[in-house]
């Protein structure tokens, strides 16, 4: 058992009025112990569904995990009973959601919400749990934990609530923390605080983090490894330096190019990715990015490329990486290499 989490060929689809939406179409990745993996992609690319599949949070009705396996410490989560999963959730794997406004129970005191999990999973009594909860609040950087302990969520700001959620998620010393856009709803100065906190706690406890985000700046800040998702598949994966500086997929290159370069004085026109992502009711047989890709060839429309190995640990699902493909200058020039 080398990796903490191994996801293989995961396929998830939803039934809806219009037919079957293939939200996740064969996603594989792994997360090592103490590693931060960033999952990058635009809305609808399947990144949140993947996380929900790992946490088994997908609705039972209308949703279908068609194929694949999710191994956590060698055990397949998809084959686990509800009871086994309940024990795992909250203690071994926990999750922080995007919206700190709606993910706390508005009718329960902060303290109760933190100690709930501790009592359940750690078998501590109420006073011990309270002591642990206060310690966690302090760790999460919340001033005056004693008075906050008895407050309700509406009395806290967005950043404070996100800190409480992180405290809850870390209450039982989980091995894996799944953070789904944890800072998207926050202001930049608060985002900086929360990212700092997460990095700090990750160093302290060696927690592995699966960080879902669309912000490549946050990726650079936090992650060691990155997977880039598009239309339900992983189009590129590698180390953070591979992805941000030597990307080998036109979609990743497009994402990086569409960001304004605010540090340079020169004002250049942005280079957007034209068009919109494909409809996942009827995903294209070839590369899903082909319709928006300026390098698209005939084969791109016909056949979905396999994951080409760029170098050890860096994979790209793009036909341009095939030795027979024409050389594309942007592949060499891509990224933001310092000159």
């Amino acid at each position: 058992m080398a990796q903490l989490l191994e996801v293989e060929q995961l396929k998830v689809s939803f039934r809806s009025h219009g037919g079957e939406v293939q939200a996740v179409r064969g996603v594989s990745f792994d997360i090592g112990h103490g590693e931060v993996l960033a999952v990058v992609g635009e809305s609808g690319c399947g990144k949140s569904v993947t996380a929900q599949a790992i946490m088994k949070l997908l609705p039972k009705r209308g949703c279908n995990i068609k194929e694949g396996s999710i191994h956590f410490e060698g055990k397949d989560l998809l084959k686990m009973s509800g009871k086994e999963m309940k024990q795992l959730k909250g203690s071994q794997i926990s999750m922080v959601f995007q919206d700190p406004m709606t993910s706390l129970n508005p009718t329960m005191k902060i303290g109760t919400q933190i100690s709930e999990g501790i009592i359940k999973h750690k078998g501590l009594d109420k006073t011990q749990a309270k002591a642990k909860a206060l310690e966690l609040l302090k760790l999460a950087g919340i001033p005056n934990p004693e008075s906050r302990y008895n407050q309700y969520p509406h009395e806290l700001s967005g950043g404070m609530r996100q800190r409480v959620l992180i405290a809850i998620a870390l209450a039982c010393d989980p091995k894996l923390l799944i953070a789904d856009e944890p800072t998207t709803a926050l202001d930049v100065t608060i985002q900086a605080q929360i990212l700092d906190l997460m990095k700090d706690l990750q160093h302290k406890f060696g927690t592995s983090i699966m960080l879902i985000t669309h912000d490549l700046g946050v990726v650079a800040e936090m992650a060691q490894k990155v997977i880039v998702m598009y239309a339900g598949i992983v189009v590129e994966s590698g180390t953070v330096a591979d992805i941000l500086e030597r990307p080998k997929h036109p979609y990743t290159i497009g994402l990086l190019n569409s960001l304004p370069n605010y540090e340079d004085g020169e004002k250049e026109r942005l280079i957007p990715i034209e068009g919109t992502p494909p409809d996942l009711y009827d995903p294209p047989t070839g590369c899903p990015f082909a319709a928006r890709c300026e390098y698209a060839m005939e084969i791109c429309v016909e056949e979905l490329p396999k994951a080409f190995t760029v170098n050890d640990g860096h994979y790209s699902r793009c036909w341009l990486n095939d030795p027979r493909a024409p050389q594309v200058a942007e592949f060499a020039a891509a990224g933001r290499d310092e000159s």
Binding site: D187, V188, Q191, A192, L195, D196, L216, P272, T276
Partner: protein, 315 residues
Amino acid sequence: MTEVLLEVENLKKYFNVGKQSLKAVDNVSFSVRKGETLGLVGESGSGKSTLGRTIVGLNEATDGKMVFEGKDVRTFSNKEKRKYNRIVQMIFQDPHASLNPRMKVGDIIAEGMDAHKLASGKERMDRIYSLLERVGLQGEHAKRYPHEFSGGQRQRIGIARALAVEPKFIVADEPISALDVSIQAQVINLMEDLQRDMGLTFLFIAHDLGMVKHISDRIGVMYLGSFMELADSDDLFSEPLHPYTQALLSAIPAPTVSREKRERIILKGDPPSPISPPSGCRFRTRCPHAMDVCAAKVPEWKEIRPKHWAACHLY
């Protein structure tokens, strides 16, 4: 470029909250020049949206002046107000909530034209088609409903609606923050093209500093209802004067791994409540340079360097 389109002087917008008053915009003065893009940044609750809405007329100002093309908007006659409502338009943040789901796209776009009786019959349809094409959609989209479009397309519809009444000045309130990264660049490019072709003036409100820098000629930084700093966007980014601006800029995570990481200034705590803002300088409770004078006296809004304004006791 130097001709002033809108001059805002000591503008205040207070909301009543029970017996207290929430000072959303407090004593703000700045000008918008013809043809420029003025960016407005600040965290949630800084009053930037309220300021935008007050300028457009969606909120009534509590006090102060807004001089548009030489005349105070607040003393306008009804006829002048109607004209002002036409030539000053707004683009909203949420493309899902700002289009009426029961109206066809063509009628949404034409609503302003109808209200101002700008066109009817075939001319009206022709203008709808040309507007749709102008913003990168197709004429046939006029017959569809908003739910048939993606977020980026809906934002284009919102822009077409604003353009339909031939505006001079557009207040764009976080027009791209609900969109995906690759779509954001599309919308920004469209706005830049429109500005160049139609000579529009923009007030661009956002919290994404990178995009604001890209699109703006000048940038104003707001905190808790007041301006902290206002400067040409290059100056603001290269030499921020106000400690709040410095912290704000240092907080943006850069999408790069090789570059030396900038020293990050982490602000402690959250912004205080605008119902009872701190005495003196509003930022002093989180400011790393706070001095005694900061609590005692409101810092003066002054031109510290040519064209570079800030309100801070350090200068």
